[in-house]
Every structure is written in C-alpha cells, then in structure tokens.
C-alpha cells in the first residue's frame, strides 16, 4: 500500500513542529521497513489477513521500540504546541461544542501505554476539523486521536499508540 508523503508543516511552524516532523519520519521509516518484512496487506483482504497483519506488525514494532515512552515523538516543546492549538480551539465561540464532540463516546479514564495496543474496548474519538487544521499534517499511516484528555499519535496499520500528550486539554 502506497504511503503518504512525509508530513508537511502545519500552521504555526516552528522548531517544535520541525523536530516533530523528523521524529514522525523516523517512526514511519521503521513502520514501513517492518511492514515490508511481513508482506503488504492486500486491499481486498480477508478478516484473517487483516487481523494477522495488524498483530504481526504491532508485535514487530513493539519489539523494535522497547524504550519508547511519553515524549519519544512529542517533545516537551511539541506537547506545549499541541496544548496551545487545542486550547485556542476550545477558547473560541464553539469551544463548548468542540469539547462535547471530543468527549462524545470518549471515556476519560481508559489506561493507555506508549507502544501498547490502542484499547479494543473503546471507539475512536471523532477529531474536530478545527483541531486537525491546526496540527501538523501526518502521513496516512498515522492519525491523531483523543483517548480521554490525552492526544494520541495512533499507528493505524498496527493499531498501536506511538506516543501521546498527557492532559492535552482540561476535562
């Protein structure tokens, strides 16, 4: 499956987002290398193929990143930038609506771990377009998601949490 280009710098480009871009590229290179090693997932896959591929890729990535922790991709400066983007969006006139949409079917106290599997027991949070516009664009293999008040960087192929920002907005 063709991958997206490396992330472009979003609005508010500064050193933090440049460094973020580099770390995302590094992660993507690892993911693509490991994905290649287990063979590409067809675009018309069976459920068995979907499940096997995702778990195999997840296991390889977890093994390759044993020391990954909060801050491995989101530097402290990038975490501050993320909180600023979200904070600005929530301060606006539609802030209440935005907060409600983030927290819709998004339980607050679900435990997550960097390099761990995204919890199978909770749905995906819905990302407001306002917030996505303010954050650096990601390659298609990665997405931003909220789990409670944490902004997660999700590997959608491996269903893994790459990193996250704690307390991304006040609940």
């Amino acid at each position: 499956m063709a991958s997206q280009n490396a992330p472009t710098i979003g609005p508010g480009a500064n050193g933090a987002t440049v460094e973020f871009r580099k770390r995302v590229e590094d992660y993507l290179a690892l993911q693509q290398k490991l994905d290649k090693s287990i063979g590409e997932l067809p675009t018309e896959a069976s459920p068995q193929q979907l499940d096997a591929h995702q778990r195999a890729l997840g296991a390889l990535i977890q093994k390759a990143r044993p020391d990954a922790k909060v801050g491995t991709v989101f530097s402290p400066e990038m975490q501050a930038f993320v909180k600023q983007v979200i904070g600005n969006a929530l301060k606006g006139p539609a802030g209440g609506t935005l907060r409600a949409s983030i927290l819709d079917e998004n339980p607050v106290n679900t435990p997550i771990h960097v390099n761990g599997r995204y919890p199978d027991t909770i749905p995906m949070s819905t990302m407001p377009p306002d917030i996505l516009r303010g954050l650096p664009e990601l390659p298609k293999e990665l997405e931003y998601r909220f789990v409670g008040d944490r902004l997660v960087l999700l590997d959608v192929r491996a269903h893994l949490i790459v990193d996250y920002v704690e307390d991304a907005f006040p609940v």
Partner: protein
C-alpha cells in the same frame, strides 16, 4: 393480485414530501398531491417502490454490527425484500462492527446475517464510523479498496456515490470531496458517511462543526442526498438548502425515545424499532422506503434530484 391488494393507487408526486403509514413522528411538508397505498399487517412486508427495469436499486444500513438478534431480524427483512426488489448494492454508513474485530466477529456481525445477499452478489460499500477499526478499509467485502474515502459510479442510472470518513475530517479529505464533486457531471451525487450533519436525536445530534465544513461544499456542487448514521434512530430531515438528509443509524443498535419530536427540521422520525432504507432511482426521481424489523414501511416518499443552474 398481491399488488392490487396492497396498493390503492399508484400516483406519486415529484416534490419532496412526507407521510407516515404507521405510528411515528411526522411533519407534513408543503402540501402535495400524494397517494397513500394501503398497508398490510406488520407480518407482511409491503413496499411502495416502483421496481422498474433498469432503475438503480439500493439499500442503506447503519450502526448494525452487533451480532445480536435484532440485527439478524432486520437482515431477514432485507433478504425478504431482495426476493421481490433485487437491489444491487447496500450503502453502509458506519459502525459496521461493534466491539472486537477478530475474524469470528466479521462472521457473526456481518458475513452471517447478510450471507443470502452476499451470495446473491449484492455489493456492500462501507464508510467507517467511530466504532470501526481503520483496517476495515482493506476488508474485501466492504469494497473500499484500501481507502478511507472514495467514490464510485452506480451500476445503473447516472448516479455517483461518495463515501467519506467523518471521524477524521482532515484537510486532504475535505479538498478531495470538494474536487471530486466539482469534477462530477453525474445527475445524482449522493454522499454517505457516519456523523449526521442534521439530526434531532438527543444522544449525539447534529454535528455542527462538520456541517460548517461540509455543507457549503455539498450545496455548491449539486449534492442531492446525504445518508448518515451515528444516532441510533431513523430520521428524514426536511430539505436543508435543497439537500435531503437521512439518518439511518438503527440497523442493529436502537435508541428508543431519542428523537426530538418537536424539532422543526424533522420530516419523519422513527425510534421504536430497527430500520433499513430501500431506495430506487430512475431518471430524476428517487423513491425511498424505510422498513422496520417487523417488515413495516414506516416512511416512504419520492424526491427529485437537484439541478444545478
């Protein structure tokens, strides 16, 4: 004979209208000439679709993949309808599988209940909801070809469908839908995705932020109909800027009593049982029937495609 028993007359109108054939919530649109076919008992499925040769026949289903009895029972109604009204395809508006998505879940929550339709070569075109793992895009039977958002030409009539991924409306996707709608010269442009731009249900309701992003694009580019889910009800919204919106989110899940019966934007609402929608397009007209788990047609009507001047 069945048709004679079931239908009083066969005149349909060319303007969007609403009438109800059973208990539910309805607001009359502008007064139009209409025909109210007689309905049989709830055990007998009746439809008010012309079933013409060469028309596009399809169904719409959302929030269905529970693997539970209600889903299976509604699926039986779909199969029953297909015996008389051979729809070629089903549009899925997301929350296709609830809970785990191991291979056995795909069997229980999708392949088994809809097996007769799959065996009859009915194609299912999916969009993803917030309960769906991203890799469903690569699942063969959802026909997404590995894409989160995509479009395709219908197998009959001059109709193009556009599937969006509304849990993640990132700028690339918004640009894509705007560009593709602009390029399309199809008579009918129909968009489907999970989160409703208009909904009177209390649980989720209208996604206003998404509406602000998508509605202008739809209005400017001649979209006629939008199908969504997420709220576990059936609802038809009064036309908004000449676009007809449907919420078809009770394919397996159901939120009884969730609709706001006083809302002025509701044309027809039903939250007492699970529902799927059957539709037919021929030329400039689309007929629709919303059919419940017991085979009752709880909403029906016609609408005309938007013409862009």
């Amino acid at each position: 004979m069945q048709r004679l028993k079931s239908f009083v007359c066969a005149a349909f109108v060319a303007i969007t209208l609403s009438w109800s054939s059973s208990a539910g919530y309805a607001r009359q649109a502008t007064a139009v000439r209409s025909a109210q076919p007689a309905t049989a008992t709830s055990a007998e499925q009746t439809t008010q679709l012309p079933n013409r040769a060469g028309s596009l026949k399809f169904a719409v289903l959302g929030d269905f993949g529970t693997g539970e009895q209600r889903q299976y029972q509604l699926a039986e109604q779909m199969v029953k309808l297909h015996e008389r009204f051979a729809f070629d395809m089903v549009i899925l508006v997301g929350d296709n599988l609830y809970g785990s998505e191991r291979p056995q879940d795909f069997r229980k929550k999708f392949e088994t209940p809809y097996k007769p339709l799959l065996d009859a070569n009915v194609k299912f075109y999916a969009s993803l909801g917030n309960h769906d793992a991203r890799e469903q895009r690569s699942y063969k039977l959802f026909n997404m070809e590995g894409k989160l958002y995509y479009d395709f030409k219908a197998p009959a009539q001059n109709v193009r469908f556009f599937a969006l991924e509304s849990t993640y409306p990132e700028p690339d996707q918004i640009k894509w839908i705007s560009d593709e709608l602009k390029k399309s010269s199809d008579d009918w442009k129909i968009v489907f995705f999970h989160h409703p731009l208009y909904s009177t249900a209390n649980r989720h309701g209208s996604d206003v932020r998404l509406r602000e992003t998508l509605e202008p694009i739809f209005v400017q580019n001649g979209v006629s109909v939008v199908f969504t889910g997420h709220d576990h009800v059936y609802e038809r919204i009064t036309p908004q800027k000449n676009i007809t919106y449907f919420v078809t989110g009770s394919g397996g899940k159901l939120a009884t009593g969730d609709l706001d019966t006083k809302s002025p934007i509701m044309a027809r609402g039903y939250d007492r049982d699970n529902v799927f929608l059957a539709a037919e397009i021929s030329g400039d007209e689309m007929w629709f029937n919303a059919i419940s788990r017991t085979g009752e047609t709880i909403d029906s009507g016609t609408l005309k495609r938007r013409e862009m001047k």
